[in-house]
């Protein structure tokens, strides 16, 4: 077995687990000169006051690796520092909610001792840079969030927003994104059963790719991220680490730009085949009692997974990067901690279970390495080439990360439309509507997605208002949908937020299923602009009101801010992913109108 050779010389915490790292161990830490650190901090996106906080926490200048860790952990993406205050106002509980927001995915009870595990996540920026790989790795990431919790993924959905259909850049992005979603989902063998697509010039330079995965687990066999058990092994599994997707900041740093081409941050490439193996291996290991905690390596890979696992568990963690399976040579600690190589997971194992786990991962041709252990220091300590590279208390990185109540301004109410003159007559207007990019058939998209693999899809795209996917071994099925109308959200973010939730609820209800809970993906512009933060706050308010009114809580979600190009924000887009359950899949209603049926309109126009 690949036991990490622990550099005990520089790891006093190991010799004496009762003590935090003493100053002798610290001596090998190479600190950045203060002025250099200040300059790098700005390049890494830390605000001056945030950097002051770093200095206060450490009581000294940071090392390069430490600075990298602070900058990613305190990034908007990992810390939710602008959005958390608002997200906390969303209703997240109901008798059927097993796990609300805060874990890798939300979990709800769907009866028969089973749970549905689901979440939606964005991959907007990567999909603009490289549409195929950006979308593909987005699907891969959300799948991992779900199977990390012990659920076998049974369905994928997506919510896509592209620039104007006639904008010169749109075609390339649409084509790449759609192929990327299909390429990943089809290969991994999880059916893509639904989604939605809009086109608008506001997305010309900033498409939105939101991917949702739904999985099924035994309600009493859910796996969580909180680490426990001082001394337990921290294990790395999956694919090797390369220099993929390392913080763009690396490039801006003089130290790195002086180096050769190879050091440039590289686009993350998805390997759905490796993911498929990872799913099978994790499912197999999860059937044993070996796992204490498990977390996928998503954004900021090794950093966020190790910090979150140890932080949530209230323990400390010590990592030896020499043991990390590496695809490239000469990687620094900074690069390894920030790498976003795909198809990797971090686990804490029960004592003595390393052999069992290793055999399973090797059976599935995946890397397996013990790369560290849990400590009682409440700190993260990182060793590389025998030197200490980082030593940071965990709480300020995770639970005590910055939190902002940013200024908001309300979106002005638009005057009512009033009388709309009929410009063309009913039939031409209808023709124009059905032909417009937002309403025309999406068949050309779903014809590229395997909607049936798994053998349980009973309503595929185009057949019902929500997709219906059966649950093996039961008569039950899930009803799944994604919804949002960004135009509404621009005009009135509160009503738009409420409408998105209500539409998801209606789409599920229309199939005959009972709506149970939602996940959301909040895509907005720059939160430092009060009008954008105002859109965000109002959308949350509207969503919360609708969730309460409909008994439809939020159990997971994702926030993507700074979606702007040249100062132009996207339309506020709180995409909603809804999940419902129907006791007997046979009873699910589709769209197809039986012959000689009457058309009945319900509700006021």
């Amino acid at each position: 077995m690949l036991h990490a050779p622990l550099p005990t010389m520089t790891n006093p915490a190991l010799d004496n687990p009762g003590n935090p790292a003493d100053k002798a161990g610290m001596s090998t830490l190479t600190l950045l000169p203060p002025d250099r650190a200040l300059q790098l901090a700005a390049q890494f996106g830390l605000k001056p006051d945030e950097y002051d906080r770093v200095l206060g926490i450490l009581g000294r200048s940071p090392s390069m690796t430490e600075l990298g860790i602070f900058s990613v952990m305190w990034s908007e993406h990992c810390s939710y520092k602008s959005s958390r205050i608002w997200l906390k106002t969303l209703p997240t509980s109901a008798p059927w909610v097993i796990q609300g927001p805060g874990e890798n995915a939300g979990v709800i009870d769907i009866g028969d001792g089973l749970a549905a595990v689901f979440k939606m996540e964005s991959h907007n920026h990567p999909s603009f840079i490289e549409p195929y790989q950006g979308a593909a790795t987005g699907v891969g990431g959300i799948l991992r969030d779900v199977f990390t919790m012990g659920a076998r993924p049974i369905a994928n959905l997506n919510a896509l927003r592209f620039g104007a259909a006639d904008h010169p850049g749109t075609r390339r992005i649409v084509d790449g994104v759609v192929r990327g979603i299909g390429g990943y989902g089809n290969c991994v063998g999880v059916p893509t059963v639904g989604g939605e697509v809009n086109f608008h010039p506001a997305y010309n330079g900033n498409p939105l790719v939101n991917a949702m995965t739904v999985g099924i687990a035994r309600a009493d066999r859910i796996f969580y991220a909180a680490a426990a058990g001082v001394g337990n092994s921290v294990v790395y599994v999956g694919s090797k680490t390369g220099r993929d997707g390392i913080h763009g900041a690396t490039m801006a740093s003089a130290e790195f730009s002086a180096e050769n081409e190879d050091k440039r941050p590289t686009v993350q490439i998805g390997d759905p085949y490796a993911e498929k193996l990872l799913i099978e291996a994790c499912m197999e290991l999860m059937a044993t009692e070996a796992i204490v905690a498990i977390q996928d390596m998503g954004a900021a890979g090794l950093t966020s997974s190790s910090v979150e696992m140890a932080g949530k568990g209230g323990v400390g963690i010590s990592l030896n990067l020499d043991a990390v399976p590496q695809r490239e040579t000469g990687m620094s600690a900074y690069e390894m901690m920030l790498s976003e190589s795909q198809e990797r997971m971090l686990m804490v194992l029960q004592p003595g279970q390393e052999g069992v786990a290793e055999a399973i991962f090797h059976k599935w041709d995946l890397d397996f390495a013990v790369i560290g252990h849990l400590t009682n220091t409440g700190r993260i300590e990182i060793f590389h080439n025998g030197a200490l590279e980082a030593d940071i208390p965990l709480a300020p990185l995770e639970s005590e990360a910055p939190l902002y109540r940013r200024p908001t301004t309300e979106t002005p109410k638009l005057p009512p439309l009033g009388e709309v003159p009929d410009p063309m007559g009913l039939a031409p207007a209808l023709q124009k509507l059905v032909a417009c990019p937002d309403l025309c058939s999406r068949r050309w998209i779903w014809d590229q997605y395997d909607a049936l693999v798994g053998g349980l899809t009973s309503k595929r795209p185009g057949q019902a208002d929500a997709a219906i996917v059966g649950i093996e071994g039961t008569a039950r099925a899930l009803a799944l949908t994604t919804d949002c109308t960004p135009r509404y959200c621009l005009a009135d973010p509160e009503a738009g937020g409420a409408q998105a939730v209500a539409e998801a609820w209606r789409n599920i209800t229309a199939t005959g299923a009972t709506p149970l809970a939602i996940t959301d993906n909040m895509n907005f512009g720059n939160p430092e602009k009060p009008e954008i933060m105002g859109q965000f706050a109002a959308a949350v308010r509207g969503m919360a009101a609708a969730c309460i009114a409909l008994d439809f809580p939020v159990v997971s979600g994702n926030v993507s801010l700074y979606n702007e190009t040249d100062g132009q924000a996207i339309l506020p887009t709180p995409a909603i992913g809804g999940v419902g359950v129907i006791a007997d899949a046979h009873l699910a209603m589709g769209l197809a109108m039986p012959a000689a049926a009457d058309l009945v309109l319900i509700g006021a126009t």
Partner: protein, 79 residues
């Protein structure tokens, strides 16, 4: 004029196919196989008869369509 465009993943970019091939060769009993990199070759038959014009046309095609320069590098040869 025949031109060959070879498209390979850029250094550092993951090549899942190469990885799978390297693994498969190992399982088949071929030893000593290290990194495997896979790419594409596109052989073009161009009406152009001037070598330099053909080369620069092929380069334009590679940049425009044949290679994804975000993740791939290409090489043009006259054959």
């Amino acid at each position: 004029m025949k031109v060959r465009v070879t498209v390979m993943p850029k250094t550092g970019v993951l090549d899942p196919q190469g990885k799978a091939i390297s693994h498969a060769l190992g399982e088949l009993g071929f030893s000593g196989v290290g990194e495997v990199l896979t790419g594409k070759v596109i052989e073009l038959d161009l009406a152009e008869t001037d070598p330099e014009a053909a080369r620069s046309a092929a380069e334009a095609m590679a940049r425009r369509l044949l290679a994804n320069t975000v993740i791939e590098a290409f090489r043009v040869e006259l054959v």
